[in-house]
Amino acid sequence: MAKLDKNFKKDYLVEFSIDGAHSFHIKNKKPSRWILAHILHGSNKIYISIVLVTTIIAAMLSSALMIVVGEAINSFILENDTSLLFYVILILSLGISAPLMRIGNFMLREILAQRLERDARKEFYINLLGKSQSFHDQQKIGDLMARTTNDVRMLNYLVSPALSLIIESFTSLIIPLIFILMFYPSQLVLVPSIFIFTFLIALRSYIKKIGPVTEKMRANFGEMNIILNESISGISLIKSTVQEAQEKHKYLMKIKAYRDAFVEQGRIQAKYIPILLLALMNTISLTHSIILFSHGSITVGQIIGYLGLLSQFRFPIFISFFVFSIIKLAGAGAKRLLEIMNKKTEIDENLEGKSKDITGNIKFENVSFCYPKSKNKILQNISFEIRSGETLALVGTTGSGKTTLTKLITRLYDVTNGKILIDGLDVRNYALKSLRSQVSYIEQDVFLFSNHIIDNISFGKKSSFEEVIKVAKLAQAHEFISSLPNGYQSEIGERGIQLSGGERQRIALARAFLVDPRILILDDSTSAIDSKTEDEIQKAINNIQKNRTTIIITHRLSQIRWADLIIVLKRGKIIAQGTHEYLIENSPEYRKIFIKKFDLDEEKLKTRGRI
């Protein structure tokens, strides 16, 4: 990526790239060119040339075999028994060398095919890692999965067998013609030539018809994946609301659509005219050669050799039948991959940006924000400043924009207007990796990988077992982890499903503690934890908090109380900010959060705030 010139850069922002990994999609927007770039890259070039050459040679060997067989029969008719051994040896060597050559050819072809699958998937995956969060917000996971596995696999089939079969079949269309011209009366080339001509025309119209159906099948398959994925992830909801029937029905509709496309494809394939053409050609050319024979211009042996050569056409005819579907599928697959890869995303890793240790001053200057593709202003004119080591508490009703505000700091999304400065430098001027690695974020919606506990805790940073235990203790997670049968090596299922809610949150806390960030963001991160455990965690946070900038979102007064700055958000606007004392006295909205809850009256709160 770094090698690209400026113009490309503007269009192809990514948040993440791998040095030395290829991004062929950038310069090759057309599916065919993209695939070609993959096939022709590096040592693949050599492989494909060898495949090409050996294919042609093998086809020539097979055709030569036919001629030799005809000649052999001719010489038997002439009762020439000395030639018998000569022909036997010649036929044997021709007959064996072609398959041997094919073995090598196939192996190389397979390597090419599997490499294409591997490399294309890699390119796609890296590209997706580099896409911004707002891009991922718009995607369906099931669909992305289908693209990464199945569409990519189609590219594999494209090379093996499709492309190599096409090369092989076209050489076996042309080489017999050449051989006919070389060894037999030239007018014998007439029927086969007409045949090839009509075959190509019929093939074209066939391909045109089969194309859309094949694409439809692909799309249906993607949808099948989406539905299935969704119903499996929502399985507990389906069960508790007894909607199995409905989900089964949804899936049934999709597989029915797939079946219909499949049958339609069968119908089109049934009308594959070239089979008829081939049969007719065989009959007519037999007639032709017999006529020539009756004029004495060819021998019986030559008729046999001629028919043998024509039998080479069987291969391209039968292959074209399905090979072009594969090509269409691969084309459609490549299109679907490129469609995603070439979608623009908003955020760029900014390799030229600053990488530096931050101290943790955060300043919002008139920040406004809407989520991409939506016009709703989620945040409006947000301005505030906290200094390194201070604590900011965000409070406000549900959906007021608290979580969104914190996501802007790590550039999960970029501000729409205004700017965010860290240590006086716009966040957009930092190298993304440097910025994000110094900010730790405990999300409200905890996500854990279906790994071992230890891998989850050390996700943000490679670390020793001791360190992991240390942070687990801080997050009050050590005790329950040790009580599991496999301790830190326990697997926890998708999204940590095998843990209780509070246990998941504590692992997320430990994960964030481990990276030792300059800025710590805690988004409602103790909501599922009982007060006693929370007390302990709070102590740990207090310790960690020292010399760190902390942003907390919580509804627990104990955590809000001592924040250096409290911001009250309402519908994306700051309606009050200041310290607890100040707000209790001056902000009715802030008071409202606590009044009802503790049956305290407003007056009492006011006086207490002053204590």
Partner: protein, 600 residues
């Protein structure tokens, strides 16, 4: 790494080929008429295929004797009409075949999906969804491809048989030579067979691993970004991807060796035919046309014989797929009903009787747990995290099977109820709210399709008002993506809450239903909730102890045991664990305490 595994899933099993075939035939039985038609058409078209070369032989043979033009014309005309007839029959056969196979794949997918949806949650705890999906969708496709091949094989067999019979009529010796081809093809094929099946299974598992891995990446992308760990994920991805590359390359190598090796056999047979045929011609014991038929036979029968021979390894691949799907279909859910009592209305008495439960062996969540909840009673369950609160809810919803003891609902064992009728009576708000990638409206009325707009607004009003919805770009029509990730956490909980209210269940279970909702909205929900809870059994699980002061009874759970119970007042005055918990909690919200805490 959970993904790298090429090992079998827990539910995988090995089937006898005989059983597999029986099952597969079972699927085709539903399309008996089509199958009969296909077989008939196949037979005819194979006959035509075999007759054409014989006509050619006759033509060539007669070249030696005379040049009677009329004979030729007749032969040519017959050949032409067979050409057209062959095409026509092939046309119908193709259509029927794709219909039959399309439908069989459909049926298999349907069965697999049905069986997966019938599993209890322990199945999904253990099997990554990516792998399940790959099994249902991709393996069935591979299986279908094999079935297409099967049809071709049947027709190839016809051609081979007819052709062989004719050859025997013409020349027995050459026929025997020709016959060498068949056993040697099969020996090669069978040698490949075993390896092929093993490698195919490995290949499929490798791709399923890739599937599962990318799924995790895409679901956890935000975490990867915030921790700036894309590179780490990438490295792991490289491992699974390269593994898939290696495994599948090996598999492909194997599959690609088979065709050329058959070609070599074919060359040997051809040479033998030329040698002995040549001698015969020299001796004058065979006509040229007949020898030509044998020679043509090695090419004409190449395709059919290749198909038949190559079919074995490919069949293995197909059987491997079938085996994987059948294993999925045949795994029984652990939660089963022993009777099918259909409750019309539940009074709501719940009794846990000496209950023992564990998710996995040796990690008991409950042991000898007993608790009775009276009809219409509202109880709260509190306790440290991991005490087993959510597990109680899971058991009541019949998501997991318990190991010993019993759960009685209205004095009937929970196992005896018709699962779906029973679950309809239970409304549960799980700790982690789940929403569909759909609009808010459709999510709320997920279980009550016919709900009117009015009912929806009503439900929303009960959960603190619908104002937040009006703030959204498209109101109720707003699309909220998988798991509702386009909504704030609190909004997700409110949506789930409304959904359950609309369901109007007899037993209501709220598992931290308002944990992420701000106090202000929560108080409003609280008021509505008190009304809703009247007259139905409700179980509330909460860490925010303030929200449960008004319930009839509070149960304090500790490591799966009840350590205290009673109402708020009683427990507070008892001064035990609950009082302690409550005080800690209250202290968090008490200004007096907070003022002091700074000095700690």
């Amino acid at each position: 790494m959970a993904f790298i595994g090429l090992e079998a899933e827990k539910y995988d099993r090995i089937y006898q080929d005989r059983d597999l075939f029986r099952r597969i035939i079972g699927y085709f039985k539903n399309y008996k008429k089509k199958i009969i038609a296909i077989t008939l058409l196949l037979t005819i078209s194979s006959l035509i295929h075999a007759i054409l070369p014989i006509l050619i032989t006759i033509a060539i043979n007669s070249l030696e004797i005379s040049t009677n033009i009329e004979n030729f014309i007749i032969i040519i005309l017959i050949m032409l009409s067979f050409n057209f007839l062959g095409f026509l029959i092939n046309y119908f056969q193709q259509i029927k075949t794709s219909e039959a196979i399309g439908n069989v794949i459909l049926d298999i997918r349907k069965d697999a999906n049905n069986s997966v949806l019938n599993h209890d949650l322990s199945f999904f705890d253990q099997n990554p969804s990516g792998k399940i999906v790959s099994r249902i969708n991709t393996d069935s496709q591979d299986f279908g491809r094999t079935m297409e091949l099967l049809m071709e094989v049947i027709s190839s067999c016809f051609v081979v048989v007819v052709f062989t019979i004719i050859m025997f009529f013409l020349n027995i010796f050459l026929s025997f030579i020709f016959m060498i081809i068949i056993p040697s093809f099969f020996i090669v094929a069978i040698l490949f067979m075993k390896a092929a099946r093993r490698r195919t299974i490995l290949g499929q598992r490798a791709i399923a691993s890739v599937n599962a891995f990318v799924k995790e990446t895409y679901s956890g992308i935000q975490i990867a970004k915030t921790f700036s760990q894309e590179e780490k994920l990438f490295k792991e991805f490289e491992q699974v991807n390269n593994q898939s590359y290696k495994v599948n390359l090996k598999r492909a190598f194997l599959f690609n060796i088979i065709f050329p090796s058959l070609g070599i056999i074919q060359a040997f047979v051809l040479v033998l035919l030329i040698y002995f045929g040549g001698i015969d011609i020299l001796k004058g014991t065979i006509s040229i046309g007949n020898l030509n038929l044998f020679i043509q036979g090695t090419w004409l029968l190449t395709f059919p014989l290749f198909t038949i021979a190559a079919f074995w390894p490919q069949l293995q691949a197909g059987l491997a797929s079938a085996e994987r799907i059948f294993a999925l279909i045949d795994t029984n859910p652990k939660v089963i009903q022993t009777d099918n009592i259909k409750p019309t209305k539940l009074k709501g008495k719940i009794e846990f009787k000496n209950l023992t439960f564990e998710y996995e062996e040796d990690k008991k969540v409950f042991e000898n747990f007993s608790l009775t909840i009276n009809p219409g009673e509202s109880i709260a369950i509190v306790g440290h995290t991991g005490a087993g609160k959510s597990s109680l809810a899971n058991l009541l919803a019949r998501f997991y099977e318990f190991q010993a003891g019993d759960i009685l609902i209205d004095d009937i064992s929970i196992r005896q109820f018709d699962l779906s009728k029973y679950r309809k009576k239970i409304g549960i708000i799980p700790q982690t709210p789940f929403l569909w990638a759909d609009t808010i409206e459709n999510n709320i009325k997920y279980c009550c399709k016919n709900a009117e707009k009015e009912d929806i607004t009503n439900a929303l009003n009960q959960t603190g008002g619908a104002e937040w919805i009006e703030d959204l770009p498209n109101g109720l029509e707003t699309y909220i993506r998988e798991r509702g990730s386009l909504l704030s956490m609190g909004q997700r909980q409110l949506t789930v809450f409304s959904r359950v209210l609309l369901e109007n269940p007899s037993i209501l279970i709220l598992d931290e239903a308002t944990a992420s909702i701000d106090p202000f909205t929560e108080t409003r929900i609280q008021e509505a909730l008190e009304k809703i809870m009247k007259g139905r059994t409700s179980i509330i699980i909460a860490h925010r102890l303030w929200t449960i002061r008004h319930v009839d009874r509070i149960i304090v759970l500790d490591h799966g045991k009840i350590v205290e119970e009673g109402n708020h007042q009683a427990l507070i005055s008892k001064g035990g664990i609950y009082a302690n918990l409550y005080n800690t909690y209250f202290r968090h919200q008490s200004l007096d305490y907070i003022e002091k805490v700074r000095d700690l």
